[in-house]
Structure formats: C-alpha cells, structure tokens
C-alpha cells in the first residue's frame, strides 16, 4: 500500500500527478511511496520553506542575530532594522551577494580543478588525458596573446594551462576572457566597476564586504556581486568549458537517449552524477575496457551500462553519446528502480539522501572527490595521476554489487531520443557549412522576423514546484512564438525527456521558427551542455553581436534568459552574470530578495539603465514567457526590426558601394 499520509504532518499527501510532468518520475514516486522510501518530493511537502529566509530577510552574519526583518504584509519595506542597524535592503543584498559568491565558487573551483588537470596533461604527467581539439587550443593561445606560430603544441598547451590557472590568483588586470565580450560591454563593465579582476580576489572581496559591519550600501553590494558573477561566467565557467573542450573534444551534434528507461535489467548499471567530467571521462573508458566487461559477465551481467545524471551526464552525453538517466530530482528515483549498482558522484547537486535511499537497496554510493564526501558512502578518491585505474576500481566496485541486487526491479519504460551537442563552434558551422560558416543566417532570420528572438532557458529542478513543468510550459510557449531556445543543465534534460530536443519538435513552433529549423535541420531547442556551459551562451551571444545588424552590445539583442525551476546558489550566480552581461533574466519559484522592495526594485528595474540587463520574477511559466517576449519585442523595436523588411534589389551602383570583404 502506498502511504497516503505524511508521517510527519499526518496530512494527506499530494497526488503524484501534481508533483511532476514526467511519467517515469511519477511511476517511481509511486514505487517510493509504496515502499515507504522518503524522497525530496515528499519532504518538500512535509517541511515548508522558511518564509523569512526565502525572502532574504534573515541575517545571521553575527551572533547578535539572527535578525529577522520581513517585508510588511503589503510587501512594503519594513521600518525595522537589525540589531546593528542593518537595513532590510542591506540584509537582502548581503544574502543575495553571498549566494552569488557560493555559486561562483562552485563553478570556479570546478574550473580550477580542470585547469590543474589540463596543465598536468599538457606536461604529459597524467596518462589518459591529452589534447583533442587542437583548433580550440590555438584559439585560446591567441586569446592569451601567445605567439602560437612560433610554439609547439605542447608549449602552447602548457602556457595556456599556466595562464588559466593564473586567472584564479591574479591580483591585477582584467580577466582575459572578458575581451571576448563586445567592446561596448567591456566599456560598460569598466564604467560601472564591474570589470572582474582575479577570480579568487573578487570572491574574497565579496565575503569581506558581507561580513558584519563592512559594506552597508545595497547598490555597492549588488555591484560587487556582479563582479563576482562575471568571474564565474567569463572566468571559471568559461575556463572549465574551454579546457574541457580541448581535452575531451568540443561537442558536435550527436543523438542520445534520456530518462530512467535507459537503465538495463540485465547489465551492470553505473550512474555518473554530478558536474565534473574529469572522472566521468575515465569511467567511460573503463566501462568499455574488455577486462571490465569480462568481469561483469563473470558476475552474470550481459555488460556494463553507463548512464549519467545532472551535468556530468550532459558532459558525457555530448561527447560520447552516453545516455542520461534523468535530471536533478530523479537521482533518488534512479536508485529506487533497484537496478543501479553504483552511483558515482563527483561534486555539486548530490542530495545526501541518495545514501539514505541506497541503504534500502544494494546500490553503492561512491564519492570520488576529497571535497565531496557523504557520510556512510564508499569513498574511492580519484587520482588523476592514475586515472584509468581509479576508474577501474570504481567500475569493479559497481560490478561487485550486481549479484547483490535485491527485491523486484522496476524500471520505467520511458526513454526519449534527443539531438544534442550545440557548442558555439558547432552552431557557427551548422549555419553555413565548412565554407560559409557564420552566424549570418541566424542574424538574418532574426532581422527578417522568422526568428523573433533568442531565449536561454536553463537551471535546476526544484522540489517546491512541479518537476519539469515550468521548463516545458515556458519553452513550448517561447517556440510557439518563434523564439529559439538555448538550454543547458537540468532544463535541457527536461526538454530531452519531453522530445523538445528533436527536429520533430518543430511541430510546436510558430511558422517562422519552424521554417528555419527545417532549413538547418535543427531542433527548436538547442542543448548547449552542462551548467558551466552557460558560458557557451555568452560566447554565442557575443558572436551574434559581432555578426552585425543586431546592435553593438549583448543588451541590444532581442534575447532574454530564464531559470524557471532554479534552486541552487549556482543558479543565482549564473542569473547575475547574465544580468551583468546585459540580459533580462527571469527566475521562478521564489526570489531571494523579495523581503526588501528596495533591493528587488533595484534588481528588477533600475539595473537595466546601468547594466543593460535586469532581473525579473514570475511563478507562472506563461507569465514568464509573456515577460520575455515583451522584452524581445521591445528590443526589436529599438533595433527598428519590428516591421517587415523591404526586399532590397541591387544594381551596379549599389554593388560599387559595398566594402571589400
């Protein structure tokens, strides 16, 4: 019997169908309930979020507090202040800024690890890692001002590795990748004190400011939060993406499969879960090793089935076509199928509950990072100097679990096909082929109105809203209105499961976007990778600006961003770097400054004048779509492309006026 009542509150549980729009998920929630296994879905119901914390109105930065300064019932700024006199605005801004710092830290520390491995690989010290994308290495070499023509590939790689690593501890000068932004954006950053310097420096600076009794000007805090966000987007995340591409290959379009149905009854199922491809890449190799396969067979399995979850999944999907078992809120559910022999986790977004759920089954939770241990889980520390053996050790442990499966397995049937791997470089190629590669067709079709605008829809799942629903309702509404969607992270997986990452999804599009998708052969929703790969969206946006005809800054583009089901601090960091890069960015579920109308108005309105981008908030995905489309139309009008374009016929005099190419 499924448990109908919550054991903590005694209240009737919500019907499963109100928890997710994903059938596989609903099926597994049903099984969990039947077997009395607690999942995030149930806990979110039984434990209400703290309303004061949710609004950013609680300050616990010193022991005179925690001080609570919630907004009035009408949503007005309260006339209370904290014990030290901190205003609600200061408190909300400080809390917000610390979220940005934490989120940026996650991406940047990930990047630091990638840079360290990259350097070792360049030095030839760690077998198994090498250079796969020479073109990109040369590009990076040039970005760092190296005279690449006079250097060997190894010299370039070592220098690039050293220079990337140096970005973290840099004390002076701008982050190198900020030069990839449109010139006007760079000027704006300089003018507004947003131009980021060393990565660690900006984060430490912010942690200092938000200590008790330091920076108590909410605007100044939001600015520094902007600078910290930019060290994520144009620093850590971009470094991680670029170096991962060089080491593991820049993604190109590839087909893949998603949802819990990818798990296999008769094979050893290993799930790689987290965000860091360094380990997963090696697990991919180990799973294909004949020795490992033989070992699996010796245990009675037909083979080894590797699948991914969260952004590690996106990384190995895009580069190797490894199937995805599901997104963030499905991590416990995968274990509940009873066929996951090991879940190998690295860093970020791993719920501690996976160990608790695994206790009910035979599944081994294997932590691999010294930074991310889980009490009670098996820790097999990944040693990049002996990467392949580390990976084999992990795979061996998984295989050993296979014979220990207990209870009746229940694998949902659902799987969906998807076409993924749209890096900036790939999009450039796809729009014109090897000989005419450029963003011109995209710009042309935006100018001509077939494509109304560009939306980035990214971010997490959140157990406090219907799983995947907002992503899908929003994205379908956008493409119906001819807005092409770029997606990453768990949002991309929601789309994958719903079939939106296939060319066949053109049926959901408005006629203009459908025509373009049919012409290029692309899905209307483009999977650009993991959440550090949001940096790809920044590069793509800059490329669209540079292609011309759509203004001279990212903020001129008919574009908007959204994370409708966000939950992590990383999401806030990403949102804030998009805003600081000139993008109107809308979040759903809750917004962490609503306790202070002053700060919220600043983020939602005043910022646009200063930064070109601003924040927005809506709970209803259709409302999000409406806000994004209204913004896109506003930008189209400013560009003068809100009306149908006249066909220009060229005579010889006009051809003479053309500049040389």
């Amino acid at each position: 019997m499924a448990q109908k009542q919550d054991k903590d509150t005694g209240k009737e549980k919500a019907p499963e169908k109100l928890l997710s729009v994903c059938d596989a998920t609903l099926h597994m929630i049903g099984k969990a309930r039947k077997e009395g296994i607690s999942t995030a879905f149930d806990r979110a119901e039984s434990m209400k979020a703290c309303p004061i914390g949710a609004d950013g109105s609680c300050c616990k930065n010193c022991a005179m507090g925690p001080c609570r300064v919630p907004a009035t019932k009408k949503g007005e700024e309260p006339d209370k202040v904290g014990v030290c006199g901190a205003t609600p605005a200061t408190i909300a801004a400080r809390n917000f800024a610390r979220m940005v710092a934490a989120g940026s830290s996650a991406h940047c520390d990930h990047a630091r690890g990638v840079a360290a491995v990259f350097l070792l690989a360049a030095q030839g010290k760690i077998p198994g890692y090498g250079i796969k994308d020479v073109q990109k290495l040369l590009q990076l070499g040039m970005d760092f001002g190296l005279d690449v023509e006079k250097m060997t590939l190894q010299e370039i790689a070592i220098k690039v590795g050293e220079l990337c690593a140096a970005e973290f501890g840099k004390q002076e000068g701008d982050l190198v990748f900020t030069r990839r932004a449109p010139l006007k954006r760079q000027e704006l950053w300089r003018k507004n004190n947003l131009m980021p310097r060393g990565i660690d420096r900006e984060i430490v600076d912010l942690m200092h400011r938000t200590h008790m009794g330091v920076d108590q000007d909410y605007q100044n805090l939001i600015t520094q939060a902007g600078r910290v966000a930019l060290v994520d987007g144009w620093g850590g995340s971009m470094i991680a993406t670029e170096l991962q591409d060089i080491m593991f290959g820049t993604p190109v379009p590839i087909t893949g499969t998603i949802n819990l149905g990818v798990l296999k009854q008769d094979e050893v199922n290993i799930i790689v879960h987290g965000h860091d491809p360094l380990i997963a890449e090696m697990v991919v190799v180990a799973c294909q090793d004949p020795e490992m396969i033989a070992l699996a067979k010796a245990q009675g399995a037909k083979g080894i089935n590797l699948a991914g979850m969260c952004c590690t999944a996106n990384e190995v999907l895009m580069r190797h076509g490894i199937p995805i078992a599901g997104n963030f809120l499905q991590q416990e559910l995968a274990i509940i199928t009873g066929v996951v022999d090991a879940m190998v986790v690295d860093v970020q977004c791993e719920m501690q509950s996976i160990h608790q759920v695994a206790e009910c089954f035979h599944t081994e939770i294997i932590t691999t990072s010294p930074k991310a241990k889980i009490e009670g889980a098996t820790h097999i520390e990944f040693d990049e100097h002996d990467a392949i053996n580390s990976a084999k050790k992990i795979v061996t442990a998984a295989i050993a679990r296979f014979p220990k499966r207990k209870g009746k397995a229940d694998i949902p049937r659902e799987t969906s096909q998807m076409v993924v791997g749209f890096s900036h470089e790939t999009i450039n190629y796809l729009l014109g082929g090897s000989f005419r590669a450029s963003y011109r067709p995209l710009n042309d079709n935006i100018i001509g109105g077939r494509i109304r605008g560009i939306a980035g829809v990214v971010g997490c799942n959140n157990a406090r809203t219907v799983h995947d629903q907002s992503h899908l309702v929003l994205i379908k509404e956008l493409i119906k209105n001819d807005v092409i969607v770029l997606t990453t992270g768990c949002s991309a997986m929601a789309c994958g499961k719903a079939g939106l990452l296939t060319p066949e999804a053109a049926k959901y599009c408005g006629s203009g976007l459908a025509e373009v998708c049919e012409a290029v052969g692309i899905p209307p929703v483009l999977h650009m990778g993991s959440c550090v790969d949001n940096s790809r969206i920044l590069i793509a946006a800059s490329a669209v600006v540079k292609e011309g005809g759509l203004g001279d800054d990212i903020s001129d583009l008919p574009a908007a961003g959204c994370a409708p089901e966000w939950m992590s601090e990383k999401a806030i960091a990403i949102g804030h770097y998009f805003v600081a890069s000139g993008v109107y960015t809308i979040f759903g579920v809750t917004f962490p400054t609503t306790g202070s109308k002053v700060v919220t108005d600043y983020l939602f309105q005043e910022l646009e004048e200063k930064w070109g981008g601003m924040w927005g908030f809506a709970k209803d995905p259709l409302e999000m779509a409406r806000m994004m489309i209204a913004h896109i139309d506003k930008k189209r009008k400013a560009l003068g492309i809100d009306k149908a374009r006249e066909r220009v016929l060229f005579d010889m005099a006009m051809r003479r006026e053309l500049d040389a190419v």
């Binding site: 379009p253 590839i254 087909t255 096909q417 998807m418 076409v419 190629y429 796809l430 729009l431 014109g432 082929g433 090897s434 000989f435 005419r436 590669a437 011109r440 067709p441 995209l442 042309d444 079709n445 001509g448 077939r450 296939t502 060319p503 066949e504 025509e515 373009v516 049919e518 012409a519 290029v520 052969g521 692309i522 066909r647 220009v648 016929l649 060229f650 005579d651 010889m652 005099a653 006009m654 051809r655 003479r656 053309l658 500049d659 040389a660 190419v661």
Partner: protein, 734 residues
Amino acid sequence: MSKIIASAAIRGAHKIATRVEKKYAEVLGKYGPEQEIGFTDTAYYLPIIYAMLGIPVKNLGDCQRVFHRARKLLPPPVHEKYHLPYLAPALDAGMATLFYEEIEEAIRYLEQPDFYLRGEEVTDANLWLGAANDVIMRKRGVEFVDGTAPGFAAVLGAAPDKETAAKIAQELQLKNLYVFMGAASNGKKFSEQLVEAGVQIGWNTRLVSFGPDVSACVFALGFASRAAMAFGGVTPGDFRKNLIYNKDRIFAFVLALGFVSDEWYANAAGAINYGFPVIADTPIPQVLPTGICTYEHVVSNIPHDQMVAKAIEVRGLKVTVTEVPIPLAYGPAFEGERVRGDDIHLECGGGRTQMVEFSVLKRMDEVEDGTIEIVGKDITDVPPGSKLPLAIYVDVAGRQMQEDFLPILERQIHHLVNYAQGLMHIGQRDIAWVRIAKQAVEKGFTLKHIGTILHAMYHKDFGKIVDKVQVTIYTEEQKVMEVLKEARATFKTRDARIAGLADESENTFYSCTLCQSFAPSHVCVVTPERTGLCGAYNWLDCKAAFEINPTGPNQPIEKGPVLEDRLGQWEGVSAFVKQASRGKVEVVSAYSILTNPMTSCGCFECIAAVLDKCNGVMTVDRDYRGETPCGMKFTTLAGSVGGGAVTPGFVGHSKHFIGSRKFIRAEGGIKRLVWMPKQLKEDLREKLNEQGKLLGIENMADKIADETIGITQEDILPFLKGKGHPALTMEPLV
C-alpha cells in the same frame, strides 16, 4: 535546406563521388600520376578546386589531395527520424560534388580532347563549349564588371518544349543576363531546344551551352570563382572571401527545369555555397529562410512565364530594362549576334556600299525632337539580299551639350544598333557596316527604327546632356555622298582637337571607378593622354559621363600641384586615389611602371612588365595566348597583378596608351619597349614609329621583338642587339 533536399543532395554527392573515384582509378592506371590534366588555356587550373582549396591540380596525381579533402566533406546520409542537422553537411556535400565533377570534366578533356569546343562559337556538329578559357573569361568578365551583364542564369535540364525554351532564353537575354546551360531533362537539353527554335547560341549571344551533363555546372561556378580571383583580387584558397564575393557581387542563380535528381540537388547545394539560389519549375520543397543566399535558397513550382522575374527577385537583382519601341527584342545580349549569308535582307557599308554615321550639334530651335525621316528607299522597298548605301545623320541639341561630346554619342551608334535582335553592326564613322536579317524584317523592322533606337537610347543614356534628337536616314547614293563629305571634314577637325589634348594643358583629370563593383580598391585615373586601362574610356568620355551622372563612377579630379613631374604624380590625384581606394592606395604615378604604378582591376587590355635582362619593358594584350619573355602568359600575369593591387614592375594599360607620349615616360617611354605580340605591333606600327621619331628613333616598330623572334629574354636579346634597340644603352632599369 529542407530534409528532402539535404538528403537528396548528400545521396547525389555520394553517387558522384563513387562514380568519379572509380573513373579516376581507371585513368590513373592507364596514364599514371604524372599525366597532365586541366582545362584549356587557363592560369587557374581546375578553378573551383584552386579557388576553394588552393590546390593547383596539374596532373592526375594531384587529384589525390583533392579527393582526400572531398571525402572528409562527404557527410553520412540523413536519418529519417531524429536526424542530425543537415544544412551544413549538405552544403559541404555540394562543395565536394563540385570538386569531384571538376576532376571528372578534366578527365574528359584528357580522354576526349575534342569533346568540347575551344572558342566562343558552337558548330553544327558540336554544341558543347566546355570551360571558358581565360581570354573569354576576362573579355566577358569585363561585362560583369561594368554592369553590362549583371549576372548569369545557370539553366539545368530542358523546358517542356522548344518555344518555351526560346521564350525563357530571350527573357533572360532581355535582362542582360548570361545563360549558362547544362544537363538534360527527359533526354532533352535546353541548348538543343534553342537551336531547334532557331536561336543563335554561343558566347556572342550570351547563351552558353557548356555541356550535356549536370557536371557542366562546374564550368559556370568555375567562371564565377575565377571572376573573384581575377577581378576581386581574392587569393586562391581563400574560400570564404571568394564565396562571399560571389554572393555580394555576382548575381547568378540556377533555373532547374524538369525532374530534379539527386545529382542535381548535389550541384544545387554547391551553388548555394556561392549564394546562388535555385528556382525550379517542379514542385520540389522550398527553402525560404535567408542566410547563405541573400534571400530565399530554393523556390519551386514556378510557372515558366514567371520564372525569370521570380529568379531576379529571389536573387535580389535590379535590372534596368530598356524599352525601345521597335518590333525586335533589344538589349546588350543581342550585341554579339551574327547575321550571315541567306539570312541577310539588307546590307549597307562594309566595302559593298558606302555607309556613314554622323552627328551634329544644333541649336535648340533647329531640332524637332523625335522626328525621323527616311530619304530614299526603305527596307520594305527592296528584296531580300539587297545592298544600299546608308547615311545616319543625327541632329542633337541640348543645353548641356558640347561639341566635344558628339564623338561619344556617335560612337554609341555601334552598340545601340547592335543591341537590336536581327541587326549586326560593325565599325563606326565612315567605315560603319550594318546587316539586317530577314527575321527582323518579317517582324516589321524598317530603317526608320534605327532612328527610333537612337532617339530612345540617347534620351535614356544621355538625357542630362541631350534634350532633342532628330534622325535622318539617307539611302540615296548622292545624299549619302554629301553627308560623307561633310562628315569627313568634321572628323578631321575632331581628331586634331583630340590629338592636341595634353595632360599639361588640362587642370582636371577624371577618375573611373566603374570596376569597383568587382575590384573595390581599384581606381583608374584618366588623363587626356592616358585612357582607362580597359581602353573603353578616354578623358572626353569621362568628362561627358560626369556631366551625365554627376554622382557616378567618373568624378573630376583637380590634379593640383605637381609632386613628381617625371613620374606623373600630382597632389590632387594622390589625395583622390587615397580616398577612392578606401585608403588602400596612397600615391599613384600616371607615367611609371616601377614607382607607384596605377592599380589594375583585371579588365586591362594589356599588361606591361619589366624585363630586367633586356633593360626594358614588354607588353602583352589579352588576345595573345602564348608565352611571353617575362615567363608568364597574359592570363597568369593578369592573375598576379589584377584585383586592385599595386604591383611595381607591372602595370595594366590600354592598347591606345602604348602610342602615347606618356607611356612609361618615367622609365624612358617607348624606347624601353623591347617585346610585344606581333599582331599588336602591327596594329600599332604607325603610332610606334611616330612616337619613336619624337624621341629620335627611326623605325621603332622594327626594333621591338615579338613571339616570332622569341619568348624568352635570352632569345630576344641578340635580336635587340642586332637592331640596336635603344633600351640596351639606357640607364639600368632596376
């Protein structure tokens, strides 16, 4: 690209690749890798491969490198469901197709040397013209440059019947477009349909029957690729620039008539890389979003009577069509058409009878605009095959009209009459010669219509200077002789006036940037003694052109103070060139080949080059196809100095300029000229001797070597010594 099209194009590319690789293996076994292959008389090897990949294919062995690249471009087939993006792979497949087909056609040239004709005209036995040689490409290219031909239509397949074919062809001709034909549909070919319909085909009428197969597409696209290299200065291998150049400047498109096979799609995908869209008469899928092409990529199911109009709209082309109220088709495409033998209804001039064309300036009140009078017999009064004397006497009046402009108007009569379908005109002044075809007479053409043409076209092209035009046509012997007498006296005065023009005596020179549509940094400076390097524009022409179109490509240049008299450098000229070349060229010399020589667009009549061992200079004109003592044929020379580049040691110039006092004056003038093609020397003999005499040399022409003496510096040096050529004793040139 729609999925159906992309899938088909990729399939087609694979079929073609398999076929060509098989054929290649066969000929490689037979001839070996050292066997030379290529198209005839071109410096651009297999031009698409050379332009896109930078690989000069000289022999069978070289093809390996091309195959290596082409195979990498060939994508896997498109899946039915959950397919990967296909636009880029299909475009790549299209390019690979063109590479394969170029090699296939080169193999055909090797195995069947007589399969294609070598000249501009078709014969009764053979319609296939094959790859244009560089002489044709440059000659025709000039028309693309100056706008006489705004682009070309590549016609694949065949119309449902010959009448429709003829109608489409004529419509394209009326829009001044070239028509490049290839492939068959249901066994029928467009070019054959035209011949059956009695239409003259060949380069002269712009109806170019390249070949019987779809692979003839490479001749059309090879022509376009070469134009970018020859006139646009695009370097071989710079594929991106070449393709964008074509998209922006060469207004070409594909007309697909009949069933579109996989191989057609593959070729169409190749053409789309150039920005050339496809217009089909069958209901194939459309590709409407813009991007690779300026507007739509594939538009289909267009009725035959709307195809040309649709194609022009889709390509984004503006064509100004001249409506002349005569019963014949009219336009530059008909200029090269021949009237021969039994087709002749009436012939005037050409040594058979006397003919003269003459225009005079009148006061406004002396001319009644539009009056056309025939004095003597008209064409309807004589039986087919007749001959008559003819004088065309044009009275013009205009407030802006000057005596100096009369020769310009008069010279236009040649083109203007020739533009009418069924009329052939040769020469000018008192050596003019005209033939009128029976077909023209059948359509109602009379001699009066010559007047109609001149009246309409003078108003259209010269409306700024001409207010009134009145034409009298004489066919009475006595009247013709009277006009001739009057005309000859005037011609003498005019020639004296032009001969008296000197750079020193005029303060205003003129620019000519007509070619900037193709060579964006090129600027011609036209002085009274130095015509444009194409030979088509002299100082008076430019002066008139400026009057007619004050914002056009011919602008006055106040020459300003002399900077270097010897070199022909003026402050005003250099300042103008700097601005007009968009900063690419800072200083130019009008009279030097070594110091800041003028830029060359690619449509020069001749190129002069320094011959160091002979201490002199050679020049070669574009009609001479052989080797020259500088080690390069005209076409190779042109390839290395064209495209708006400044190349010390080389300069483009007109034939006429060789006879000028200012020809490479800085280096010693005509005394430096040690070699030129024999035909050119004979054409200019009088002028050469005249200029030699001014510099104290008798019989200058005989001292200049030509190809009958030798085509290397070593070979001609003994000749020069023997003749006591002045260059040998002059100060060292380099």
